[in-house]
């Protein structure tokens, strides 16, 4: 595990359609919030990690140079980490590795995206090469819906039950977003609204899918010495896990998704977690699609395979359930992709430090944050705890 590492501060923008700021100004908003939260100045930072989904989302390449001023990165070592949808968690991992290695005491991690400025699905389609897979993946919803459909069939989940469970997730997350001051989509939806919404990529309907958001998130990672010197309640990194898979979508099983299973296992092993449903107090699962969220519950060992829809409908993963998932409203309500995994990380840190405000899970001590991406190819996990 290297040296102990803590998250000592977080900052988020107000996420949404942010045509009131240009891209670097959006980034600065998150960075300033993180500095204010931590009580440090830019000169205290030893290094900066930044990341986005494909840079071409906004038509500017290598944005860590564009954002050098907004991140106050001049005169410091700077890294860019880019792993498609899982970028945000990978940025957190990069900052963690940097501090854990002993090569830095304070690292600023920044994730950002301005999805409304381009055509997000057209950009994402460029993740696939242009002579085979690009023709069929249909942006992110296409592949992830195919994965959900495979999972539904594998476990013989009745269509009506599945649709009810997906609608339940959508309704409860949209309700939760009202308690999150940074969330993008704040609308009241009913089970019938979700179940009867227009099909986007069957089985996914309009209210089963995340929005295009503009947003940024900044998180400050510190060594034990620095965390103690700052004297604020930190969130300690208890475990990290990441796995990638083979490139071709049809080469590996996506219903029992090995990269998700193994990434979680790696993080659990480091954190000493054997029964995640009991030992985790809250999880921020990367959930751009309601159906896929259930598949993650199973891959992360929150329940057995094929069991998630029944447990969702019993409220096991609700705000007052045994393991609350995405009390922030999650990715479903806010998705500036390059920031999203880091937002999950920030939310997990806020939960274990008691700073999550109206969506605080009372007494949360251990939290999981997650992100995934690629053509169904990557999963990353970080587990945070209130104690070293």
């Amino acid at each position: 595990m290297g040296r102990p590492v803590a998250i000592v501060g977080t900052g988020q923008t107000r996420h949404g359609r942010r045509m009131d700021v240009c891209y670097p100004e959006l980034v600065r908003e998150a960075v300033m919030a993180a500095f204010a939260d931590t009580g440090i100045d830019p000169e205290d930072i030893d290094g900066v990690v930044s990341g986005t989904m494909p840079s071409m989302m906004e038509g500017v390449a290598l944005t860590h140079f564009y954002f050098a001023d907004a991140m106050q990165a001049a005169g410091k070592p700077i890294l860019k980490t880019e792993t498609c949808g899982s970028t945000g968690v990978s940025i957190a991992h990069t900052a963690y590795y940097w501090v854990a290695s002993g090569m830095a005491d304070l690292v600023l991690a920044v994730g950002h995206e301005k999805m409304n400025e381009g055509d997000s699905q057209a950009t994402m389609t460029t993740v696939a090469e242009p002579f085979y897979q690009r023709f069929f993946i249909a942006g992110a919803p296409g592949v992830f819906s195919m994965q959900s459909q495979m999972w539904t069939d594998r476990y013989g989940i009745a269509e009506e039950k599945l649709r009810d469970a997906a609608a339940y997730i959508s309704v409860t997350h949209h309700d939760s977003a009202f308690d999150n001051p940074y969330a993008h989509i704040k609308i009241k939806v009913t089970m019938d609204d979700v179940k009867n919404a227009r099909i986007i990529t069957y089985p996914v309907r309009l209210l089963d899918v995340c929005p295009n958001s503009d947003g940024a998130c900044a998180v400050i990672f510190a060594s034990e010495k620095m965390a103690k010197k700052l004297g604020r309640k930190p969130a300690w990194v208890k475990g990290v896990g990441y796995r990638g898979e083979e490139y071709y979508f049809g080469d590996s099983d996506k219903a029992v998704w090995q990269s998700a299973i193994e990434a979680a296992k790696q993080a659990y092993d480091q954190a000493g977690i054997r029964n995640p449903r009991k030992e985790l107090d809250v999880a921020e699962v990367y959930n751009p699609f309601t159906y896929q969220e259930m598949l993650f519950y199973e891959c992360f060992g929150f329940c057995g395979f094929g069991e998630a829809p029944d447990l969702v409908l019993k409220g096991v993963f609700g705000r007052n359930g045994e393991l609350p998932c995405d009390p922030s409203g999650g990715t479903l309500c806010t998705n500036p992709i390059g920031a999203t995994g880091l937002i999950r990380t920030a939310e997990a840190a806020m939960q274990v430090t008691g700073k999550a405000g109206d969506h605080q899970i009372p007494g949360a001590r251990t939290a999981l944050a997650h992100a995934m991406g690629g053509v169904d190819q990557f999963n990353g996990i970080i587990i945070l705890g209130s104690e070293l």
């Binding site: 009131d20 055509d119 389609t125 002579f131 069929f136 195919m146 994965q147 990529t201 996914v204 083979e246």
Partner: protein
């Protein structure tokens, strides 16, 4: 009322010429002749399709070429009913994973050959595990869409 801020419309157009290499070239030449080629890994014995120059798991060269069946079973599917810029296939369409007979991975392609406008009808016809068969275009260019789609057998 919130103020409207100025925006700039911009566009990036860049030309590329990507090399297929020997393996993809042979695969696509096969498509032009209505043949689907795979390669077999000498170590794990899996038949991979489209043909690969190396096995992604064993990391050994796969030089045993096999013409594979044009019939397979449906593993997974999704009905795409939205648009994005530059979309290469006109929606609605059904993206699908298809396990061709005698192969060990799923081929990503389309399912079609019936009315795709009516989703209830689509839902009635399309079932996991159903047999599908390649339907070829008359005019073939050595392209993945030389197969128009896979239709129910």
């Amino acid at each position: 009322m919130s103020k409207e801020y100025k925006t700039i419309k911009t566009e990036i157009r860049l030309p590329y010429e990507l090399a297929y290499g020997a393996t993809w070239t042979r695969f696509f030449e096969g498509m032009q002749e209505k043949k689907i080629y795979g390669t077999k890994c000498s170590k794990c014995k899996r038949v991979l399709v489209p043909a690969r120059s190396f096995c992604p798991r064993c990391f050994v060269d796969t030089d045993q070429w096999i013409e594979v069946s044009q019939v397979g079973t449906l593993t997974a599917w999704s009905y795409t009913n939205y648009r994005y810029f530059g979309q290469p296939v006109e929606p609605p369409f059904i993206g699908a994973l298809i396990r061709l007979e005698g192969t060990d991975v799923d081929l990503l392609h389309l399912v079609g050959g019936f009315d795709l406008q009516n989703f209830d009808e689509v839902r009635r016809i399309v079932k996991n595990g159903m047999k599908v068969r390649a339907v070829w275009r008359d005019e073939r260019k050595g392209h993945i869409l030389d197969i128009r789609y896979f239709e129910p057998v």
